[in-house]
Amino acid sequence: MPLMKPKTEVGIVGYGSYIPRYRLPAREVARIWNDGEGSVPIKEKAVGGPDEDTMTIGLESARNALARAQINPQNIGAVWVGSESHPYAVKPTSTIIAEAIGATPSTQGADWQFACKAGTETIQAGIGFVAGGMAPYVLGIGADTAQGRPGDALEFTAASGGAAYIIGAAEESLAIFEASYSYVTDTPDFWRRPTTHYPSHGQRFTGEPAYFQHVMSASEIIMEELGYTAKDFAHVILHQPNRKFPERAGAALGFEKAQWVTGLLSPIIGNTYAGASILGLTAVLDIAKPGDKILCVSFGSGAGSDAFVLNATDKITEKQHLAPTTQDYINRRVEIDYATYVRYRNKLKMH
């Protein structure tokens, strides 16, 4: 099974995250829809304010990635944004971000979509773009302001947040990509048609044949091909639609809690969709030590998983505090009630 391994080594030159300050507790969703009964899948989720969207979230993470990379934005040869909540159906998010960070006009801009794995795709493509000498740097972003239909199970977890990565030469990198691998099949577990506001999903179908099949296969194959077992990794980050799925998959792959706890953010910020696995990765990079081996695996409905094995370099410690850490954003917490949530996320419509 061929892994994706560029002929020239590349890595992460800068990374950044953004999480909005509002939190909607899951028990507040349960209070409205289930009389407060039943168990909830997470503690609370991050919710964007009325003036925030995927562009503003992606932009602040990109600015943080630039602060860590300390490069001239004019040398960024591509700005790619993965999301399922781009502010426009037609008009790219990427050009707005490229302009706002000063990367325009000589740059490649594109928006990507593949449910929750649209963010990791920009990184995987960026590895090839940089390794092939097409550009010195690529900016890859995953960001979402995910929405569930009011009362749907997804409403407990569908959250807002994002992360950005600047891919560049290995010598400048704080972590180097050892290899990546992508595993996709045609699985209709979750979808949204163009003119509808909220997604639909195949209920129980979302677990076994979708999330677990793809995340487990991608993880097992990349580890096996590289000759690693769970013990070789300091950290693992799996796509996190809730708390249970990544914990179960992680344990089944032979990992222990100490390896996933730093990168498992869904219990306290929810599922940030295209941001989810790569936001978990920012929390890991914030505290990682030189030499740490990291496994990061996304999952996108429809369905597929992108897996990455990264090795932190000596440069990581000098980069960690050049921008706010993911924990800084998590600490900036303001609890809201369901009514405020409905107003902030413009949910007083059902189409």
Binding site: R21, G49, E52, L59, E99
Partner: protein, 137 residues
Amino acid sequence: MATEIARHWRLNSQRYRLVGEVCPKCGVKMFPPRDVCTDCLDDSRQPDFEFSGHGEVYSFTTVHNAPEGYQESAPYTVALIKLEEGPLLTAQLTDVENSEVEIGMPVEMVTRKLRTQGEEGVIIYGYKFRPRLPVAH
């Protein structure tokens, strides 16, 4: 055509990146860009200057009856911000309770939605200011 695009880009760089000017003669920093220096009246071509985005609240007022296109965020606070490089500018504050705003409060620039032209129009993005993010070291 080219000058039209250039003017648009110049406005974007003001709105998205706080790009102003620095006077080549006396060094005063200006925002927004002007043709003549506000200090020494020098009118030679002024190079661009990108502001740090850091400043403090100089004065403020809370808007309850928002004009069309701004109702989504009402009530909100509009402040006169003193940038650390000198100039004053007017901007909406965000990520803050209106009752928490104080004169002298340290703030930083963020890019947010300023307004939307209805369900079908364009989204206008630009600078707002929020309380400086507490960062642990």
